[in-house]
Amino acid sequence: MLAADASLVGFARALRAAGVDASAERLHAFLRAVDVLGAEARADVYWAGRLTLCGGRDDLERYERVFAAWFGPGPEPRAAQRAAPRRQLRLVAREGAGAAPDTGGNAAPDAPPAAAAASPVEVLRHRDVAGLDPVQREQLHRLLAAFALRGAARRTARRRPARRGTVDAHRTVRELLRHGGEPIRPRRHARAERPRRVVLLVDVSGSMAPYADALLRFAHAAVRGARAEAFTVGTRLTRVTRELAHRDPEVAMAAVARAVPDWRGGTRLGELLREFLDRWGQRGMARGAVVVVLSDGWERGDPALLAAQMRRLHRLAHRVVWANPLKARPGYAPLAAGMAAALPSVDAFVEGHSLAALEQLAAVVRGAERA
């Protein structure tokens, strides 16, 4: 039995290496499950592990892979059931090994003329992120790390004690009892307010390359600070909320770099937006949320699809904000096909090229400033 246990522990370790959170507590449950099942059969070990070691649908595909590698590809007794999760998991962008990301494509924008050196922070605030030298970049990173992005407030079902509002029967009665039934001033409560969820869709395609790093740091600050979700779009859709959750920006950026397979490729905004809405948005993530798209609107796919998906997003979300770093350029007009298609479904169209512009974006998201 000892040798068998060692093999199971090794299996759990291999799973951990593959990115499944097979912690000690889960491992303990796994060993007990195998013990209870008296598992000699491969299928029993398979299910015992899948039930105890996995914690989400994203884990299942990794589990299948590691299980096959560790215990050898055996006969598949439940081929139909095994095949099913794979079909759905193919959508997991960062897992897939499908189409290679498009390269080339949109030309990188020229760097705008650099401003003359003056009062450092104030100048930095208004400088285009694309044209910073390493020292300024470092300073920008420090400033971005201190950022906060709160969604507009929304009333919740919960009530909190307040000075004004409806009478709080529970607290009033409790207070009455405390005073021996003597009349007292009625206690009141009012609906609590909570910030809405913020969803960030960051374009990491080639044309956005000069801004991607700064925008992801912005996303990092947002995810760290509040209920925000972050995705990268390019040729694939990748959810990076978990990668960005690390406290240290450098570690988080490295994690994102590992997770995102499509840096500097083309952009398929319409298709990816549809994937986002199908997998997450419609289920509730976009519902009543403030959705921020950080992109230049260069669309390689069909603008009609993008327009349709933007309309769908607009129906679900509380507000749709589009931040386009190119908007700050003199003489800019939203002529890119994707941008023109998306604009009718956008509540606020803002810049996103500098720290000051990002501050303004945060104000718009908070609902303080209607752009």
Binding site: L37, A43, T52, C54, G55, L60, A157, L176, Q282
Partner: protein, 291 residues
């Protein structure tokens, strides 16, 4: 129940069909006393599992529906203030002078309103269904985690109540939000997939014996074909049953493409989905089923 096969047999007696994975899951839930976290699309039988388990174990099903802002007084227990007040008034009218006794009486069990979680601890055996945990707040999840690890509750006025035999716990989530890792770690995890044709047909036959075999086969084939389309909301087993029931109510012994399109409203609830489905070749699907 000594092995997964027996668990499966018992659940099938109640009319709930399970596959190998779910049978092992239910067996482990009963054996290890761990909660089962069920995830999957809507309408695949997550909630139905809890009622089937309750029936199989001959235990009452206690259900806690989560919503935003749910807190301990709605989920665990609350004191019945109006009755306590009434009690005080009655005591005053009767001229009771023994203040200490009166105070003791105020926090008596009879003034305690047991909400689902406390009721599950007090009822043995019982099946506790925590439905749509993803709708509750993080704070409530932390609170639930504490309860599920100890299976005991401390009420300051009464002391600690402990479940001698912990309830069987089933949690469901529709994944509108990621459930916290600490809570997940305490649970067994099962992902519910849409069933394959044979299993779904068996479910329809079992749940709706009045529907003709031919109609059941056709409806199942159509729903399976619909799931292959890129729909916003793929139909679950619940929708298959609804559709079969609707067609049966129309007196249809079998279904043709025209009737299928006319009754699509019982399966697809989004206009975009219905439009896409209308462009599908229902006749071909039905013909492939030995038309």
């Amino acid at each position: 129940m000594d092995d997964p096969e027996q668990v499966r047999a018992r659940l099938e007696e109640t009319g709930y069909l399970v596959d190998d994975g779910l049978a092992v899951a239910c067996f482990l839930v009963l054996r290890l006393g761990r909660p089962l976290l069920c995830e999957g699309d809507a309408g695949v039988g997550k909630t139905a599992l809890a009622s089937a388990l309750a029936e199989a174990l001959d235990a009452p099903l206690i259900r806690l529906q989560c919503h935003e802002g749910i807190d301990a007084s709605q989920a665990l227990y609350d004191w019945d203030f109006p009755r306590q007040l009434l009690h005080l008034r009655a005591a005053e009218a009767a001229g009771v002078r023994d203040v200490e006794r009166l105070e003791g009486e105020l926090y008596d069990r009879r003034f305690l309103i047991a909400r689902p979680l406390l009721r599950a601890l007090q009822t043995q055996p019982s099946v506790l269904l925590v439905d749509e945990i993803d709708r509750a707040d993080d704070e409530f999840e932390a609170f639930l985690l504490e309860l599920l690890s100890e299976f005991s509750v401390t009420i300051p006025e009464l002391g600690t109540l402990r479940a001698e035999q912990p309830p069987v716990v089933v949690l469901t989530s529709n994944r509108t939000r990621e459930v916290h890792d600490a809570l997940k770690r305490r649970c067994l995890y099962h992902w519910f997939d849409h069933p394959d044709f044979a299993r779904e047909l068996a479910i329809v036959r079992r749940r709706l014996p009045e529907v003709s075999v031919r109609l059941a086969e056709q409806v199942t084939a159509l729903v399976q074909a619909l799931r292959g389309q890129e729909l916003l909301k793929p139909p679950g087993v619940a929708e298959t049953l609804d559709w079969a029931r609707a067609l049966d109510a129309l007196g249809a012994g079998e279904v043709d493409a025209e009737l299928a399109v006319a009754t699509l409203g019982s399966v697809l609830k989004y206009r975009e989905d219905a439009e896409r489905a209308r462009r599908m070749d229902f006749a071909a699907v039905l013909a492939a089923r030995g038309g």
